[in-house]
């Protein structure tokens, strides 16, 4: 399996999804070697083999900078160099080539465009079938625009040459058909899920003391957790926040995450006159991340285009109901959440106001969505993926 990241060395939902998916696949008897483009310890992963893809000249590759940006290479001769994204994927291709030459596998399963060139080379060298798994397209990342043409081209080649495509939602399948001209019959929808065991218990002392105190005084907290980037739709959330605060002044917005839009969003909250009600915390993980989900009365994911979106499910785990944009895959698996178009600022404000003004709406939403959430499992997704493996390898019952 060709992937880009695994927890705890992940910067977003892709790593979490890959980890939990592989765990479920392994439980059903699939033998996985997972190739990541960096060197780091994954000692806690026992259900599969995690292999770093290193070019022969390099000794270590560390992630650096924000999100999916830069990598720090340490070469055999001791020199250290920062490498950009495109050069890094070139190196990933070369490293995967040498693994593919050994040919000790039945099928290639590749996650998202970053791995697609390597996956295509592996298919070419080994002659083994290729399944590409689409968690996000450049169309999504660019906020519903065509985005970087080079990335679009790599995605297109991967989608075109793959034997089968797995999409994390119907929404994503539709985008692949519409924006990449791929026939729908080649694409299967495999919804992401959540693994309840992977989540830690909440600590009774929430890290956000200030918010906890304000809630005692009748304040209500609306949270978003995600990268501060155009895809995530935070600009509209802040516009809605202004309308909410005008009607329910005791509403606080907690924005957890970092990204290139940070300064712009901070400036916007000041321009809108709601800076006192909007709190930016930058990127968090661990207890502070869990507590951010937990302290909120409503979790909002206003994404412009979200292929799946695991954070609303995580919010439900930690006891917070959700409002999601209709342009998200997760809205296909949870009925009991609020939904609004990402562009419909007034409707978003309308629904947020209803929740912060009525605890009964919040509580009923949570009660019902939690009941839906406990029925979710990766097992069904794993069975679908194994079905695809069997279809393309002829190894029926190989599990």
């Amino acid at each position: 399996m060709l992937g880009w990241e695994l927890p705890p060395h992940n910067s977003g939902g892709l790593g979490t999804a890959c980890y939990q998916m592989c765990k479920a696949l392994s439980k059903q008897g699939v033998d996985i070697e997972f190739i990541v483009p960096y060197t780091a310890s994954h000692d806690d992963i026992t259900f599969m083999k995690v292999t770093p893809a290193l070019p022969v000249t390099a000794r270590a590759i560390k992630k650096s900078g924000m999100a999916y940006d830069n990598f720090k290479y340490t070469y055999v001769d001791g020199t250290v160099k920062e490498v950009g994204m495109m050069a890094h994927t070139d190196n990933y291709v070369k490293a995967v080539e040498s693994i593919a030459e050994l040919g000790e596998f039945d099928i290639i399963h590749a996650h998202d465009w970053l791995t697609f060139r390597a996956a295509l080379r592996a298919k070419e060298i080994s002659g083994k079938p290729l399944i590409v798994h689409v968690h996000a397209t450049e169309f999504d990342r660019a906020g519903g625009k065509s985005g970087n043409p080079m990335v679009h081209e790599i995605e297109y080649m991967g989608l075109l040459l793959a034997d089968r495509i797995l999409a994390v939602s119907q929404l994503t399948k539709d985008i692949i058909v519409r924006e990449y001209d791929i026939p729908a019959s080649k694409i299967e929808v495999v919804h992401n899920s959540v693994d309840i065991d992977a989540y830690e218990e909440l600590d009774p002392n929430n890290a956000y003391n200030y918010l906890a105190r304000m809630k005692q005084d009748g304040y209500r907290v609306v949270a978003n957790i995600g990268r501060l980037t155009v895809q995530k739709g935070l600009y509209n959330l802040l516009l809605a926040a202004k309308e909410v605060v005008a009607r329910a002044p005791k509403t606080l917005f907690l924005i957890v995450g970092s990204g290139e839009q940070y300064r712009e969003l901070l400036q916007l909250s000041a321009d809108l006159g709601i800076a006192q009600n909007v709190l930016f915390t930058s990127f968090q993980r661990g207890k502070r991340l869990r507590d951010a989900f937990a302290i909120a009365d409503l979790f909002v994911m206003p994404s412009v285009s979200e292929p799946f979106g695991i954070t609303p499910l995580e919010a439900i785990i930690y006891g917070t109901p959700t409002l999601v944009s209709k342009q998200s895959g997760v809205s296909e698996v949870i009925n009991n959440c609020l939904k609004a178009d990402f562009w419909d600022v007034n409707e978003m404000a309308n629904q947020i106001t209803a929740v912060v003004q009525n605890d009964s709406l919040r509580d009923e939403l949570l009660l019902q969505s939690y009941a839906e959430y406990v029925k979710l499992s990766w097992d069904a997704a794993a069975s679908k993926m194994i079905g695809a493996y069997e279809q393309h390898t002829g190894l029926v019952g190989a599990r």
């Binding site: 609020l338 939904k339 309308n350 209803a354 009964s360 009923e364 019902q368």
Partner: protein
Amino acid sequence: MKQAICFYFHVHQPYRIRHYTIFDAGSDHSYFNDQTQFADTNNEFILSRVAEKCYLPANRVLKELLDTYPDFKASMSITGTLIDQLEQYAPHVLASFQELVATGRVEIVAETYHHSLAFFYSRAEFEAQVAMHRQKVQDVFGVTPSVFRNTELSYNNDLAYWADKAGYKGIITEGWDPVLGWRSPNFVYRPTYTNSIRLLMKNYRLSDDIAFRFSDKNWSEWPLTADKYTHWLGAAGDNAQVFNLFMDYETFGEHQWADTGIFDFLKSFPEYWKNSRKDRTFMTLSEAIDYFDAVDTVDVPNTITWADNERDLTAWLGNAMQQQAIQAIYDIQDAVIQSGDWQLIEDWRRLQTSDHFYFMCTKWFNDGDVHAYFSPYRSPYEAFTNFMNAWHDVKFRLAEKGFVV
């Protein structure tokens, strides 16, 4: 001794709330006027659709039956919220109901004007709505009801006691097994703690064969014919005096579409029923009460309804949102009445219609089975949000008049 069919049809449409946002509250005071073409909350559109599919053709069939069979009879309750909408949008449909009542063989049953659950929250408001309905029925149909039904056939001993004191000769509810025990719903009963009032209880098996199962092709008895149905009724032999077939009038043409043969069934049933035995006939609810003696008393300490498997009020008041919403309505009652603003009072009453709370029900939505019940909204949460925003606007209007609640 005769054996009678008591047809009772419930005819109702609520004033559905449009997509009413927090931006509307305090600026646009009209909640029920969605003009969007083909929208499920466009009351005029829904009414005209139901009239075409159900009210007009069903009234035609009933008129035909009344003209053909001198002893064909039926009972109906028509809510005030529907009569208002018929007057406003479809007077010719109202005329077709008036024509039925004018035969003297279609009885009109009393209820709350606004199809509300006021009995359980405010006795004063409940009585006001019952009086309004009585007046409206007298004005529109020229008759005075003598049998009472409460919203969703909700019923308990207190209600029977109230109806007895209020002078009704009869009251109706669900023939629910835990209440009846070994007894049959096919007789007239007397509620405990009362003297003169009588109780008629719905035979839900036979009623639901028509109302729910008629078009179900997976039902082992499909297709249901008038011949077969008459045989089922006959199976009771002499161990039955009155078959209480109670259902929504919208069964005919709206819940069961015309192409299922529901109108043909209704049209041909009386012929089979009357020919099956000489003493078989039809009665209105009050005729059955006058003709048959009560065979026993029935004790209903806890509220029952005709809804769901549970036969209780949980479809309307089962979750916290529903409870908060209805509580919010009755919390502002005094200020609303004191305002003396009739438009405001009427809007507040239209918000009491039980359908609004039903649309907030979450007990089926969970399974993704969103079609298990009908709602014009995409989710119970949307229904709640629209409702509470309208409630905020009612409070705004009160505040403008100096009533801060």
